[in-house]
């Protein structure tokens, strides 16, 4: 389709403008159909009106004939304007020989019933009739009881005028619809383009490096606001992730420097001071141990990153959480006992969740190990699993030292360690891993004061179609 040059090319290419054109086509079609129906209905109505008028005329004339005979009828015809001149009414009264006795029409063959009769040129009220073109009138012929012929007719001009009028109005309406559609389309697409342009501007500014830039909302709650709000939320999340990443790189740099420099010191010590093979061996063993710890930290960081990427979710399958909890209780019961602690469990049977069995095992193991490692002897650790209608509920409770309220959120951060636990071996990544696994499974993790001790609650999402 060729693009008219007067259309702004940018508006033309917009989706909204094309929609406007489609609207115009639809509106135009409905205008045409509407006027078509009006035309048809009024034509029918007017034709019936005309026939009724002719019949009424004829009825009066027949009446006049019954009362006054041929003379009365001729007089009535003359009185009703059956004289030459400008009149919509036409009459013809002929005697049985076909001679015109009264009326303004030329004598013609006596035909009864509805017919179209040419209007004599001198009687035609239509001044603009083209030469050679003869207008017709609608007429009805009838034989009177004495064998005379009566023809009553009326001009169809009014009717034709009306029809012309309808066609003209339809044309103008169509033109009006077109103009409105074009103007409306331009207005709509211009306003949409403005909104889109705002989003485009904001995103290019963000691409140029102004990461804090957000798309302005209008507050109308329309689709554009909705889209912009979503985009803003996405940007916030990306920025949060980037900040997190920055934080992590800082943490890694800091937290791995310490063990690496310790390692270096020890090796240096060994080089300078070790004299026997046994001493060298000892130093090497320590160095290997230290290296393993650093590698374990790296491994845990990679694992957290991989879990946070969310790709594991594709492999989710139903997991028998009861079996996992039983296995953890069975495994850590003796471990706790060896440390003079006590592990109890109350596990509901047949609790199933959608997830990754390996990761859920690790999640639970980390929580129980946390309780075991950070609590003194005589602590009781209890593991519970309940099947609730709104999803499985798991809890790990201990009556150990607990976590101060203001630090409960922070413990999920990478490398974060409570002052009290700085001397306990560990990477400070255990709870970060817990948070990552819980996030992946959409499990809500709550830390609360168990008075005394710590209560960790895991609320699993309701098992449904994944």
């Amino acid at each position: 389709m060729a693009i008219p040059s007067w259309l702004p090319s940018r508006s033309w290419r917009t989706y909204s403008f094309r929609i406007t054109l489609l609207y115009f086509a639809l509106l135009g079609a409905s205008v045409l159909i509407l006027f078509g129906v009006i035309y048809w209905v009024t034509a029918d109505f007017m034709r019936n009106q005309l026939r009724a008028a002719i019949k009424a005329d004829e009825f009066y004339l027949t009446d006049a004939f019954a009362v006054g005979g041929v003379d009365g009828l001729a007089a009535e015809i003359a009185r009703r304007g059956g004289t030459p001149g400008r009149t919509p009414n036409y009459y013809l009264l002929e005697d049985p020989t076909g001679k015109r006795i009264a009326g303004n029409l030329e004598p013609r063959a006596a035909v009864t019933g509805w017919q179209e009769v040419p209007i004599p040129p001198h009687l035609d009220s239509d001044e603009v009739a083209a030469p050679g073109e003869v207008d017709v009138l609608l007429a009805r012929g009838r034989m009177l009881s004495n064998g005379w012929f009566l023809l009553v007719g009326q001009n169809e001009d009014r009717f034709a005028d009306f029809q012309d009028q309808i066609v003209r109005i339809a044309g103008w309406s169509l033109a009006g619809v077109f103009v409105l559609a074009v103007l409306g389309g331009r207005a709509i697409s211009a306003s949409m383009l403005r909104r889109v342009a705002a989003i485009t501007d904001a995103s290019s500014e963000i691409m140029r490096g102004n990461l804090g830039r957000r798309i302005a909302l209008r507050g109308t709650g329309d689709e554009f606001d909705h889209l912009s709000a979503n985009l803003n939320e996405m940007l916030d999340r990306i920025q949060m992730l980037m900040d997190g990443l920055k934080q992590v790189s800082n943490d890694i740099a800091h937290d791995l420097r310490t063990p690496l420099s310790h390692l270096r010191q020890r090796l240096e010590d060994a080089r300078d001071k070790a004299t026997s093979a046994a001493e060298y061996r000892g130093a090497v063993e320590t160095a290997i141990g230290a290296t393993d710890e650093i590698l374990a930290t790296f491994g845990a960081l990679l694992r957290i990153a991989q879990i946070e990427s969310g790709t594991r979710r594709a492999a989710f399958a139903p997991v028998d959480l009861s079996a996992v909890a039983r296995m953890i209780a069975e495994t850590y019961g003796p471990v706790a006992e060896d440390r003079g602690q006590h592990l109890t469990s109350r596990i509901a049977e047949g609790v199933t969740v959608n997830g990754d069995r390996q990761l859920l095992t690790q999640l639970l193991a980390n929580l129980v190990e946390n309780a075991v490692r950070h609590s003194p002897a005589k602590t009781t650790i209890s593991l519970a699993l309940d099947d609730r209608p709104d999803g499985a509920l798991m809890s790990v409770r201990d009556d150990g030292p607990g976590i101060p309220a203001d630090e409960r959120r922070k413990v999920f951060r990478r490398f974060y360690r409570l002052d009290a636990s700085r001397t306990t071996p560990g990477s400070g990544l255990g709870l970060s891993l817990v948070a990552a696994i819980a996030d992946l499974h959409r499990i809500a993790v709550e830390l609360a004061n168990a008075e005394p001790g710590l209560l960790v609650t895991l609320r699993f999402p309701r098992m449904g179609p994944p």
């Binding site: 990679l302 594991r312 495994t331 850590y332 471990v335 390996q358 690790q362």
Partner: protein, 224 residues
């Protein structure tokens, strides 16, 4: 054992080859995936050690192709990826074990021996070491005819040791196979359960069957 080591990093390859040769294995090295495919098809090896990332043809595809051609030589994957999925894809492709780099040579050696051993016949329902008997059907254990009550986890631990009698099994192997733990616990899970198992199996009997291999793992050995 005759081992084909498929590894493109020559430092790792030499280190592994030297370590395994010292332990009495015959190691052949190849650094390219396609060459390895031909070699593994043409020669009879007892074990393949396959790096995941190889030039030519990656390790997982290599093993998958071998399995498709009906070659069932046990394969152990080596990978630097601590990935969660890598283990699964490796095993699904037909690998028999998986070890993440860096690893201790002792760990690799233990896994190599475990893979070299033909699996116990499926029909075997009773495992025996000396006077220790483990009945897989009745889930019962006796030593010198006296019944010994074991917890479920202890039973699996003993079963795994006995299936690899004479070999060193490492902490990692036990965690993976007895507990299905694919992470490193921060507590003495293996040590605690092992010491309980030993208390039941060995304390009131002579000689002790379960040996600690210092720094490497455990081994159950039949008395001479």
């Amino acid at each position: 054992m005759r081992i084909l080591l498929i590894e493109d990093d020559s430092a790792t390859a030499d280190y592994v080859a030297a370590g395994l040769s010292e332990r009495g294995h015959r190691v052949e090295q190849v650094g390219d995936g396609r060459a390895a495919l031909e070699q593994a098809k043409g020669e009879a090896y007892d074990l393949l050690i396959v790096d995941r990332m190889l030039p030519g043809l990656d390790g997982v595809s290599l093993v998958r192709r071998l399995r498709a051609e009906g070659i069932a030589t046990p394969a152990l994957f080596l990978s630097t990826l601590a990935g969660l999925d890598d283990r699964v894809t490796g095993l699904e492709a037909g690998g028999d074990d998986y070890l993440v780099k860096p690893f201790a040579l002792a760990e690799l050696a233990a896994r190599v021996s475990a893979l070299g051993r033909r699996p116990a016949l499926a029909a075997e329902t009773v495992l025996r070491i000396g006077d220790l008997e483990l009945d897989l059907v009745r889930r019962s254990v006796t030593r010198g005819g006296r019944p010994i009550g074991l917890q479920a986890r202890e039973f699996r631990l003993l079963e795994y040791l006995m299936r690899h009698a004479g070999d060193v099994v490492t902490r990692g192997m036990l965690l993976e196979n007895v507990w299905d733990f694919h992470f490193d616990p921060q507590t003495t899970v293996v040590e605690t359960h092992m010491s309980r198992l030993r208390a039941k199996i060995d304390r009131n009997f002579d000689p002790a069957l379960i040996q600690t291999v210092r720094g490497h793992g455990y081994s159950i050995v039949a008395p001479v």
